[in-house]
């Protein structure tokens, strides 16, 4: 049986997702997420040794496309959607570190 969800777990997940939560929101989501995880615990308590884990509702495998070119979007259209651009590229605020 998994340990119950703690407030600091929710705070950490929120931080990873770049979500800023108030103290009240933290309490609320700790309770709500806790209820969802408890439901998962109910399922984990069942005898399911013979059931294959499912991650997708459809029993499909190997859905693929041929390696064939399709039209791209126009650069002008694409950059017009961005707040800022320069030299045909998207301009973003300076990056604080390198990509993970």
């Amino acid at each position: 049986m998994a340990t119950p969800l703690r407030r600091e777990d929710v705070a950490k997940v929120a931080k990873l997702a770049r979500l800023s939560l108030s103290d009240e929101e933290l309490d609320m989501f700790t309770e709500q997420l806790g209820q969802i995880l408890e439901h998962a615990n109910d399922i984990a308590a069942l005898q399911l040794d013979d059931v294959v884990a499912t991650a997708h509702p459809f029993g499909l495998i190997n859905v693929m496309r041929e390696d064939v070119l399709e039209p791209c979007l126009s650069r002008d259209d694409v950059l017009a959607m961005a707040p800022d651009s320069e030299d045909g590229r998207f301009a973003v605020p300076r990056i604080m570190g390198e990509a993970p």
């Binding site: 997940v13 990873l16 997702a17 770049r18 991650a55 997708h56 459809f58 499909l60 495998i61 190997n62 859905v63 693929m64 496309r65 041929e66 390696d67 064939v68 070119l69 399709e70 039209p71 791209c72 979007l73 650069r75 694409v78 950059l79 320069e86 030299d87 045909g88 590229r89 998207f90 301009a91 973003v92 605020p93 300076r94 990056i95 570190g97 390198e98 990509a99 993970p100």
Partner: protein, 475 residues
């Protein structure tokens, strides 16, 4: 480089290779290097809301080819989202494979007889490319960053080795052998300078036979030279730290080629910080045995086998010739070299020209026909061209194609006729009577003196062997 007494380095490499598909991994945008920024992008690779990825069958096939070539087990696999925030990844997650990769296990045998195990070789998508603008030119201190998404969604295979490597020389050998294998499968062009093959190195140190130490991951290794230097630097840094009573922190470090040093980039994320979860927009991948077999049957011979085939045609190859063989095979010049050997060109000459002149401009190899290659080498062998002239002709053939004789004529590489060479030699003998008598008495070193003099007079148009023949005929 040797480490201080009693220390051993433990290295594992993560090699990322872009796959040579026509289109990207999950959309029909062209997978090309060097296009105008943001001209090969669509809703999928820009991560626009509502867009859905569809897996490229060719990317799967090439990943299977790589797996087969490194003796992996091709396995049923799934895709996950690796979540993190960085502007070169507009979806805020990278589609990758996590607990169930397409290729599991395997190994690569190296020319020195050692074997490096492969843990996995999985599929994932590449990110966009950011340029950092600012006074310093480095990421730290940049004012703003510009992003080009042409590379976003280009298919990659990441090949993860076991912690089996024990020296920087072995790391380079492994990377070089793997590069040859990747090129041989047709999955990659192996161009490290263009970033189509990139390496991260996990380095730790320990006293021999003790448990593994804490490792650091070094990023930004864009050449075999950087790889070797960075590993040596990092191993010594860790040993100094431990000897001084410090501890190694698990972290990601950046290699600075100019400084010749690694520096902390960030402390290592835990896998759970990436909040991996199944990519709900993609179904499982499970290539059936018939498909796996078709891919395996489609593979040509791998570099080790091809080197052996060429080496078997050499009479007691020297270490220089064996090194040249490796270059020749990695670059796929086997057929050209074999044809030249068939045409009775001297093996040493063939290998030297292939591993040097052809390798220097390998991208243009398509401009050089087998006939032109053989003709140029035979002209050099027969003394019609000097070594310098032959190299010039080869480089010209690579750059613009054409006929070697016509190029030699156009460049004024007149064949120095036997008569005029004879005249030159006769004049030099007369001008240098002491040297000539010593040569006649058996001092062979003086042949080099006369060759040098002939080259000076003929401005390098004479052939060394022809000069020696001329000298000997007058002895």
């Amino acid at each position: 480089m040797t480490l201080p007494d009693g220390w051993e380095m433990v290295v594992g490499l993560e090699v990322h290779t872009e796959l040579k598909t026509t289109t990207k991994m999950f959309c029909g945008c062209a997978n090309v290097f060097g296009a105008e920024p943001n001209t090969r992008v669509c809703a999928v690779c820009l991560g626009l809301p509502g867009s859905l990825p569809v897996l490229n069958v060719r990317a799967v096939e090439l990943a299977m080819a790589i797996g087969s070539a490194v003796h992996s087990t091709i396995s049923p696999s799934t895709f996950h989202r690796k979540n993190y925030f960085y502007p070169d990844m507009p979806k805020d997650f990278q589609i990758s494979q996590y607990d169930l990769p397409i290729n599991v296990g395997g190994y690569v045998d190296l020319p020195d007889g050692s074997r490096v195990s492969i843990e996995r070789a999985h599929l994932e998508e590449d990110t966009g490319k950011s340029t950092h603008l600012g006074a310093s030119g480095r990421i730290h201190g940049a004012e703003r960053s510009l992003v080009d998404y042409n590379r976003s969604g280009v298919p990659l295979v990441e090949i993860v080795s076991g912690p089996d490597i024990r020296s920087s020389a072995q790391a380079r050998l492994y990377a070089s052998e793997l590069r040859g294998i990747l090129i041989a499968t047709g999955a990659s062009d192996g161009r490290m300078e263009e970033g189509s093959m990139r390496i991260d190195a996990n380095v730790s140190v320990r006293h021999a036979n003790e448990p593994f130490g804490t490792r650091c991951e070094i990023k930004n290794l864009n050449s075999l030279r950087s790889l070797g230097r960075a590993i040596d630097f990092e191993a010594l840094r860790q040993i100094d730290l431990l000897n001084a009573g410090g501890v190694v922190r698990q972290e990601t470090r950046h290699w600075d080629e100019t400084l010749g040093a690694t520096s902390t980039m960030r402390t290592k994320e835990e896998a759970e910080d990436y909040r991996y979860f199944r990519e709900p927009d993609l179904v499982d991948l499970a290539p059936d045995l018939a498909w796996q077999e078709r891919v395996r049957d489609g593979l040509g011979p791998m570099p080790a086998e091809r080197r052996a085939a060429l080496a078997a045609r050499l009479n007691e190859p020297t270490s220089t010739q064996l090194d040249a063989l490796q270059v020749v095979v990695d670059l796929g010049f086997d057929v050209l070299v074999a044809a030249a050997l068939d045409a009775d060109v001297d093996a040493g000459l063939v290998l030297a020209r292939a591993a040097n002149e052809l390798a220097a401009d390998a991208e243009n190899i398509h401009s050089l026909t087998t006939d032109a290659f053989i003709t140029t080498l035979l002209m050099e062998q027969n003394g019609e061209l000097s070594a310098t002239q032959a190299k010039t002709v080869l480089l010209e053939l690579l750059a613009h194609g054409g006929d070697p004789r016509a190029i030699a004529n156009a460049k004024g590489f007149e064949q120095l006729s036997a008569d005029s060479l004879g005249d030159v030699v006769a004049a030099l003998i007369q001008a240098n009577p002491d040297e000539w008598s010593r040569f006649r008495e058996g001092d062979e070193k003086l042949a080099q003196f006369f060759i040098g003099q002939v080259m000076k007079v003929t401005k390098g148009q004479a052939n060394g062997k022809a000069v020696i023949a001329e000298l000997n005929s007058r002895r």
